[in-house]
Subunit: 124 residues, 2 copies
DNA sequence: TTATTATTTAAGCAAATACTTAAATAATAC
DNA sequence: GTATTATTTAAGTATTTGCTTAAATAATAA
């Protein structure tokens, strides 16, 4: 697994060890955060999140129509994001509406703002 | 490609069309942003970014040692992030140091802060 | 109860991603 | 010049991810 040459001659051993400690301390945090960000780092899911952010709530069917994609495909994306607590659902008869959880709404806001700015640029 | 049933009876056509417009207007923005976020949404790369953020600059060799991973694997991660302008390099003799670009340093700061907080919790 | 509408889930396949190995490039030391 | 150190790149493999199809669940309407 580990091989190759290196460990450079003038490596700062203190620094290396400090970094190793950080990595082992935060190991789970890194995994958890990366997993959350990987959900947002997909253009279909990013679109879904932004649309829900703008429209407050949407159902699978709406999103399927808007994005021109299979309902099943959208449903599977929504599931992943619900599992990771980016989205919540509320049922209204047969329709299930998805909306952003407040926590992720705040966290993702800087990115939505970037998109908002681009939107202004695109329309003018 | 598109099939299935749906388009719910009481769908808000205006809303659907407004959303379709947004998606087509921002299509490239979505792709670009999602691509950037997908880079951060990988635990190895997130670790690399956070370590470089903390230590200001690191070389492949250091990172390989810290993360217990193949130099080649790290190098390929660094390349991707350099290509997408998350990282810059400066050469010092045979060693190439990677550091964060200011733009992404700002953008990623909220996430680094989350990790910082967890670090305090982990050590106390 | 059966039919319809809205949605989810499971299985399979295809494309993308991450890591390994080995070879290539590049700067310094001898 | 050759040898060494630091790094990148290319090719192959294996795992993961996203989408398709088909079947399952769940609420409402007839």
């Amino acid at each position: 697994m580990e091989n190759n040459s290196c460990i450079r001659q003038q490596a700062d051993i203190k620094q290396i060890n400090r970094c190793k400690d950080t990595v082992s301390e935060l190991s789970e945090s890194f995994d958890h955060l990366a997993n959350g960000l990987s959900l947002v780092g997909n253009s279909v899911r990013l679109k879904i999140l932004y649309l829900i952010f703008e429209e407050k709530r949407l159902c699978v069917c709406d999103l399927s129509d808007i994005l021109g994609m299979n309902i099943s495909a959208i449903s599977q994306h929504l599931r992943k994001m619900k599992d990771r607590n980016l989205l919540t659902t509320e049922r209204e008869a047969q329709t299930i509406f998805y909306s952003l959880t407040t926590e992720y709404s705040t966290l993702l806001n800087p990115f939505f703002e970037i998109l908002d700015k681009n939107k202004i640029l695109a329309t003018t």
